[in-house]
Structure formats: C-alpha cells, structure tokens
Symmetry: C2
Subunit: 665 residues, 2 copies
Amino acid sequence: MISREQHDRMANAIRFLSMDAIEKANSGHPGLPMGAADVATVLFSRYLKVDPKTPLWPDRDRFVLSAGHGSMLLYSLLYLTGYEDMSIEDLRQFRQLGSKTAGHPEYGHAAGIETTTGPLGQGLANAVGMAIAERRLREEFGSELQDHFTYVLCGDGCLMEGVSQEAIALAGHLKLNRLVLFWDDNRITIDGAVSLADSTDQIMRFKAVRWNTIEIDGHDPDAIAAAIEAAQKSERPTFIACRTVIGFGAPNKAGTHKVHGSPLGVEEIAATRKALHWEAEAFVVPADILDDWRGAGSRSVAQRKAWEGRLAAAAADRKSEFTRRFAGTLPSDLDASITAYKKTLAGKPPVVATRKASEDVLEVINGALPEMLGGSADLTPSNNTKTSQMASITPTDFSGRYVHWGVREHGMAAAMNGIALHGGLIPYSGGFMIFSDYCRPSIRLAALMGVRVIHVLTHDSIGVGEDGPTHEPVEHMAALRAIPNLLMFRPADAVETAECWQMALKQRHRPSGLALSRQNLSPVRLSHEAQNLCARGAYELIAADEAKVSIFASGSEVELAVKAAADLTDKGIAARVVSVPCFELFAEQPAAYRASLIGNTPVKIAVEAAIRQGWDCFIGRDGDFVGMQSFGASGPGKDLFRHFGITVEAIVAVALGKLPPASVA
Amino acid sequence: MISREQHDRMANAIRFLSMDAIEKANSGHPGLPMGAADVATVLFSRYLKVDPKTPLWPDRDRFVLSAGHGSMLLYSLLYLTGYEDMSIEDLRQFRQLGSKTAGHPEYGHAAGIETTTGPLGQGLANAVGMAIAERRLREEFGSELQDHFTYVLCGDGCLMEGVSQEAIALAGHLKLNRLVLFWDDNRITIDGAVSLADSTDQIMRFKAVRWNTIEIDGHDPDAIAAAIEAAQKSERPTFIACRTVIGFGAPNKAGTHKVHGSPLGVEEIAATRKALHWEAEAFVVPADILDDWRGAGSRSVAQRKAWEGRLAAAAADRKSEFTRRFAGTLPSDLDASITAYKKTLAGKPPVVATRKASEDVLEVINGALPEMLGGSADLTPSNNTKTSQMASITPTDFSGRYVHWGVREHGMAAAMNGIALHGGLIPYSGGFMIFSDYCRPSIRLAALMGVRVIHVLTHDSIGVGEDGPTHEPVEHMAALRAIPNLLMFRPADAVETAECWQMALKQRHRPSGLALSRQNLSPVRLSHEAQNLCARGAYELIAADEAKVSIFASGSEVELAVKAAADLTDKGIAARVVSVPCFELFAEQPAAYRASLIGNTPVKIAVEAAIRQGWDCFIGRDGDFVGMQSFGASGPGKDLFRHFGITVEAIVAVALGKLPPASVA
C-alpha cells in the first residue's frame, strides 16, 4: 500500500524530472506533466499491468498519452518504473537530436511508447483501435491470452478535435469497456482559458455516446483509485474527468497558460522546489522514491509469468498462431495462394473495376489470413471490402472481422493505427479515395510510425462520373505519394490488383494505399506470370524494338496506353508501355533498372487521370503529360474522360505532334 | 395559409421532380429529397426569406443542404420557387456534363446554391461560418442591413463526421441563435441501419454543446412550422430532430437503404405515383401547384424592397462601405499602404521569422481593411495572427474581429469557407502548417468554389525544431501545391511576406495559404522596390553574368541560396538566385518569362526544406535538389538543418560536384 506521503513524493518525482528536463532543453511543456502527475502516479503505481523488463508482453495494458506535448510525463514514468532503455541520461537529452526523448513521444524510440502522439485527438482514437484489437483477439484467443485494459490521458485539445469525437462515438457504440479515458481537465489552452472557445458539458457529451462517466479531483489519489476501479468494472468505456491544476506546484504560474508550453525558468523551479519540499538536485530522484517506483514497476511480473505459462501450456497450433500473429509474420502459403489466384485469371482475364478485383483477391487473402480485420466508413457496397469471411462486429459480438466504422473516415484511420500498433491484426479500410483527405493526419502518422495498415481507396478519378468534382480525386495520388514511407498502389487490372495487395501485405513496417477504379477496366496482363511484376513498382508491359515513344501510365489509364501504343505501331511508330503501379517501390530499385526502364526514347508521355506533379521523374520536364489540370466535373464517366482529353486519341496526337515528321512512316 | 392538402402536393412536387430526374440520369440519391420534402416545403414556402429574382440580396436567409447527395431537393426547390436560372430543362439535365445540376450542389453553377456540398459535415460547418458572418455584420452595420437566419439540413452522415462536431461545439459556445439545423433522422446509411455504427443520443449530444433542441415528426407540417417558430425565438442555435422515412412515398423501398443512392426504377416510380395520387407526367408540375410554389417564392419581395429602401436611406459612407464589402472589392488605398510599409523596411530590414513579419504587415492590412476577420485554432501566440485591431469575439460581444476557434482546425477552415461565401468579410486563419492536413477537405472545397480565404500556416519546416516530426511539415508544400486553384506562398523575408499577403488579398476568387517560418530569417530583399516582385510567382533575386549555376529557393532557404551564390562567386563560379514564393503565380506567367527565368545554366539546384516533388518543373529531372527525403526529427532547428544537409555548404558542394573541373577557376 502506498501512503499519501509516498504518493505525493512519487508524483513530485515526475514533476521535477519534467521541469528539469524541459529547463535543460529550454523547450517543452511542463504544464501537463505537473498537472497530471497524480493521475499518472496512481495508474502506473497501482493499476497499470506492464512489466518494464518485458515491454512487448502482448497482454500488457496499453497506455496512450494522447496529449503528446506532455511527453516528459511519459518519459519520467518509463524511467521511474524501470524501463531499461530509458535512463536518466535519456531524460537529460530531452528534445535533442538523436535522443529517445523527442519533443513528442515517438513510437519506436523507446519501449513503453505505444504510439506517436502530438497531433491532438490521434492518441485517443489510436486507443479506441487498441481496445477494438484487444476485444477481437480476446474473442479469438480467449481471455487466458488477451485480457487487458487500454488507458488514455487526454487534454482539452484532444476533445475539441473532431477525430476524437468520431472515435468516442464508435467506442461507446461498440461498448469497449476495457477502455478508460482520463481527461486532464485543467481549463487552460494556449490562447488562454478553455472558456474562450468552448462551453461543452463534457460529462453530458460522453453520456450522449453511451460512456460511463466519473468526475473526480485529479489531485486526490483515493478518488483516482476509486474511479479506476469503478471503470474496470464498467460495461461501457469510462470517461474520468479529472479536475486538475495545470503546472501544479509552481507557486506563481500554476493554473495559467504560462506553464503550458514554455520552461518554467530557474526562479520558478526554485520556488516550486520550496513549495513542494523537494530538496534533490536536478535529475536526481531520492533513493527511497526511486525504490518505491521500481517496486511499483515490477508489480506485474508474476502476472506476466503466469501469462507466459498459459501460453506455453496452450495447444501447439494456438500457441504458434498467437506467436505468429504478434510477430507480424505472414503465413508461408500466402504467396502460393496469390500466385494460384493469378493463374485462375490467365486466359480469361475479367473486365472489372479494380475495386471489384480487389474484392476478389481479398476473398483469397481473408481466407488465408485470419489477422485481416476489414471495414468501411459506411461505403461497404461501393468499396467492395466485405468478403465472405467478414461477418460484422457488433457491440455484443466480436466474432466477426468487419467493422462498420460509420461515416468517420478520420476516426477509422486513426483507430486502424491503434489496431496495428496493438499487434495481432492487420487492419484494412474502405473509403472513397477523395476522403483520404479526411484521414490524412492519421495516414501520415502510420507512415511516420511505420505500421502496416492498408487503405482501400476506391473511386480513384473522374471515372467516378456523376457524383462530380467533390467526389473525384485529382490531386490525391500526388498528395499521397508526397507522404514519406507510404506506398501508394494504383493497379491497372485484376492481376495487378492481386500483385499490389500482395506487396502491401508484405510491408511489415509501412502503410499502403490502394487506389482503385469505380469503373470497369479492360485487362492489360493477359498471360500468366508467377512473378509479381508490380514488386518493382514499374515494369515494361509492352516492349518495342527501337521504340520512339515510351508511354508511362498507372491504373485505369494503362489500357489507354496499351491501345495508344497499338495505334502508333499501326502508324509505323514503335511505342512501348510502362505500367507504373507504385512510384515508391520503383524509386527503391537499382539505378540501372530505373534508367533502363525509363529509357531514352525521343518521346516520353505519362498518362494518369490526375495532375502531373511527380511524373517528371519519369518523363522529365520536357516530357508530355496526358491527365488533369483542374478539378473534375459531374457527368457520365466516359464523357468526362473525353471532356478532359484523357483518351487514346489524345495520347496518339501528343506522340505525333512531338515526333519529327521524318520519323513518321 | 397553405392547407394540408396543398402542402402535401407541394412536397410531392419535390418528390416527383427528384425521382424523375434521378431516373433520367440513371444516377443519384432519391432517398433524402423524398424523405425531407416536408421539412423543405414548410421552410421554403413559409419561412425562408429569399427572393428568387434577387438571389444575391445580402440580407437573404441562407439555406445549406449539408447532405449534398440530396441535391435534387435543392434543385427542385430552386425551380419551384422561381429562380430564373433553374429551368425544368436544367432538371432534365441532372448529372450531365456542363449542366447546372451537378451530382452534388456546386457553388457558382446556379443562383440559390449557397455552397458546394457533398463531402459530409462540410455544409453544416459552412453554415456555422455564415451565422458568424451574419452576427458580426449585424454588429457592424446594424439589424436594418443584416438580420437573417441560416438554415441547414443534414443527415446522419454529417453528424458522424468530426468536422461537424467541431462546428456545433463552436456554434453552441458562440450562441449563434440565428442558426437552425434540421436533422433528417431517417436512421439509414449506405451500409444499412444507422444502428450498425452509431448509438448516439443526438439530442443529448447537442444539449451538451448548449444548443436548443426540438424533436418532431418530420412529415407533420404543423410540427415543422412550430419548431421553426420556436427556433427563431431561441437564444441559442437550434437543432430540430426530424424523424423521417427515407424515400417517403415509395411503397416498396421507403425506409430502406435501397432508396439512398440509386434510382428507384420505373416500376417503383409508377407505384409511388399511385400511392401519392400523382397523375402528372415526368417533369410536369400541375399548374396549381406550380402557382402555389411560385407564390411562396415571391413571399419576401416586399421585405427585400424594404431592405433596399433602408440601404438607400443609409448614410453615404455606410451605404458605400456595405456595398463595397459585399462586392468583395478592396479599398483603393491598400496597395499604397503596403508599398509605404515596404518602404519602412528599406535600409533596415529586420531579422525576423516570417510569422512575425506576417503579424507586422497584418497590422497594416487589418488597419486598412475592416472586412478582415482573423482567428487561430488555439495557437494565437505562435501564429502571430492577433494584431492590435483584433479584439476577441465572445458569445455576448461580436464587436471584435478575432475568433478563438479552439483546437478545431477543420471546423475553422470549413467555417471560414462559410464566412467568405456569406460575403462582407475576408477570413484568415492561424494554424501550424502541419495541421493543414486536418483542414485539407475544407481547403480543397475553398479552391473548388473559388472563395477568398487565407490560411496563415506557421512553423513551416524542420525549423520547428524540438517539437519534432509530428509538427514538422515535409510533404505539405507539395501536397498543398497539388490542389488546383489554391495559391501557396512561401515568402523569404519581411518584404516578401508583405508582397505575398498583398497577392493573397487580391485573389477575389481563390484561396491562399502562407507558409511561414517559426525561426528568424535574414532579409534577402535589401533595397526598396515599389513593385510587387512576388506577383510573378518567381523572380531573379540575384543576377549573374554568364552564370554557371542557378539556385531556386523558397522561404527560409532563400537566405541559404544567397549565401551559397556568394560563396560560389568567391570561388569564381558565377551563380544566380531565383526566389520562388509562389509556384502557381509563376505557372501563369507568359512562356517567355518562365523560360528566361528558368534559364539554361549547366547547373540547376532547387533548395527547400521539404520534399522535391514539384520542383522538377524548375530544375528538370537532371537538376539537383537540396531538401528533405524523409520525415523530420526532434532537436534544435539549427541542428536539424545540418543533420538533414540543408546548408550553404551542401548547396555549394552540389554545384562544385556537378561542374566540369575546367569551369572551376
């Protein structure tokens, strides 16, 4: 049992480590770590089920600091509870280049950082995904192997962000009762009092989405403990509103926005030391307090060992499956299944939209990979994401593998990140490509963290047709290709769609997006190749001796390129076609392959029903581009392709216009 | 007084026009127009203050169809109430290329379409902006000139989107009591029942953000009327939950998701004709019903005339100011003010961050332009957006011109679109550039609609420093430049910042973004030029005879380019520098200017602390780029520039590496 005095000193250890590190860095946010130290101390010293020496224990509780600017709270806790790769020296290196202790918590920098946070609202939505993963895996593997809580700490900023509102509505709907959200209710934001911009009754707001709600004094350890215990017994997710004082303990600045985002300064730190009766020097935690913390950190070792015993005792196939799933490795027969599926297409390649081709190969993948967790942001019949294996998850039944995310693209993408971070599952989404804009902050974070989430982005161009420019991606391929570490695929037919899915699944540490057509496409890969040609990002689809023209195209425009090449050949002009399903994989190929694929034909044309940006790396500044220069329009898709000049005739005309007359036969 | 029978027939006119147009197009969404026809009929026939013959009357009520897929509801209403540019032929052309009647309502296609909707949640947030504009202008010009309501119709999808949650929280906080939201509560989404994905108690949810709430049967005209009258008297924004049947009237499909997004089919339409006792042929509205509708449409002519009388009687300066403001023209002395301001910088150009330079020129602009309405998403002290003229708007006092948007970037951007669409004001935001991702859907819509909103995007690169990669834009310039019709400015110093602001203000029909540095920058424009050099998008900052090297740079990297050019010159290599504050304006220059500015030096180098994508249009595929290839990192900004190799030395090394040895003196 931790006495009140012990508690206070343990919490103060967080406060001083935070103040001192921020002061040393001359940069950072002391307000939250000081204000939320009591909540964190009770949670980490008495309830959080983790073992710092086995930080990746699959059944650990997850803790997410959604208010990522308060990163020193988390770093202090990791050090204090005994995570081996968080030393006092790491705390001294706060916010320095190359340190583990970045300005905001960065996933992968140190064990115990469960997700990258900072962009507000994201962590909360990640946590919803983690709770979904836990609930789903508990259903699959039983509570002997999966039975943990997900705790989140957020501030006012997180709650004002729309993404958090989407996430909490879904969490309430799905009755994710292992999810506990602490709200650091300090009533201060950067501009000043929260009341400058918000009058929300947060308790009522959470009740409206079916959460259990509790209000406490966030500096009262007993109240905090009682709230956590009540939350653990709830049948609904629990919102614990913790009334706190930002910068608690700083005699002159506490309770004001001055402590939010700037170092306290030497004088105020000295005053705080006095006020909190803290005599230790900077970065020194008195031995007895460190002992208390380390003891608290090792609280769950026995539980971890018992869990390991249960895993060891599990049936061999269940054990190996569980282990494989958390290792993130794919079943060895996946490649063979996809190759076999490709073989079924040979000779009778279907004329289908790539969204439908995606459904067909997903039928194979979802059959082979029980870790696939699908879903759609209320566009299931349009995204073709629900294969025969995908029963719907409901609030009372998690035996299914398909989430109806509602019209919540952003919440979906952020929760998918949480699912992937949790481990054991590979989430894929369904959405219109245009709405990748709604989920962009979460897609970026997936790329930054390097997690395997797969976004199925259908309706990928003006081929959308009648729904018009609000639903027609034009700049989205370019804008998504711009995100580092994200693979964007735009397959041309059923074979390429299968190959692109295969490549996306193989990215253990990268997210992918698949841009898929609404409209039917003629196949371009007519013969069977066991090899995955899309694996190199771009490949020669049609070769030509002494080619004068190279046509580079992706997705729905590859069939136009193929027809244009045939027309040109008929006119005596040798033309080759390069299919470009993935810029990023192409960029990773050896220079020789890239140079030879790009080639030296006098005419280079790129074709994509989107803007030119990015294509110059294939065709150069002097190359030609057949694509979009503006937003789309509303009308039948075929009319739009004609109207915007993305046609076989346009490609042929560009080539003819560019070739010196002599070269035309 | 409209009898119940008249009402029913008027509502059915909407239903049949919608059904018939969707059937003819073989594409569209009949469910909402049929389900919401009663609500719309009561509103448009009895309450909405508009004059179809004077559709741009500044004091008209605004009506926003946030559920934009129900576009035929709006088109039918515009035709029925007598808007001259919405004929029956236009309805027949529904969803055809070039028609006014696009798949979703497109601003600018026809009078009476107050905003472009379709991406869910946006219209509702636009309407919050319109209500802010009305309230602010009422404060400024008095209720003789501004005194109207803003009505919105939304569905479940809008309410699930996070952006709408941000917007309603702000509307409740600001007590926007002229805002009335109808919720078409039909309990159906594309995937099926709303209950698949949501359990929200919407009434409680709106009460939690301080709205007035009313629940009614959405097919009962008396109840609808009573609700509107109660809303008009409310001191808070009002949420009217209208229980409806989707596809009301279709005997076999009403109440199911089958009527949401597909034509009903010939048989079901015939059955609906029978069920609703409607004998007119397709696209024919019986004369008596059309008369009733046209009469309803001209209801407010007297009010419009009285308003015109009040405007005519107003004091000359007040009248001319009001007229100028709604015409969207700038005061003629703005240019002179900015030139005079630039002159004050000459000779003593300050070393400042461009965010600070922006504040300084905004001080001039906000003094000259009373239509400027500023704000920040809770980053006021970091964005430097609050100049001396900008008192804060509060729920009870709209005499200020500054909105504390809260941590709601998306809601802010969407509401800004509404403010610009309303007329009379020019909204500008404040936010971190990284969070442009959060507002991207709204920025895109601003560009699609062509409205003048200006986004101040500070902290524009790894210069952010310690906050780390979650807060450092890397791909954002490229991703924003990808949006058609959006101007992205990245000024290099105080002079360029003033020039870029001037250009942004001059875009009557385009949105702009200003990417501004957190860190201090050395000035690059040392002498005074009255001319706005940024107006051409890119210009030669440093010329050199027989230059061997051209260095193209934007923003904070221009000073590096200038120093590198000096170093190269010292080494005997003539180097010129081109400052590139705005790609889009440059692309609009005559070909000769573009070609000569790009030039033919053997070495071309682009420098931007961001990814290369897009720069090939200056340097070509074989040019060199000094910038980012990955996400950023956490550390002092100067360390990061060194770490990522964005330095004077790196630029010089690239040039030396590329030049044939003989050319080096």
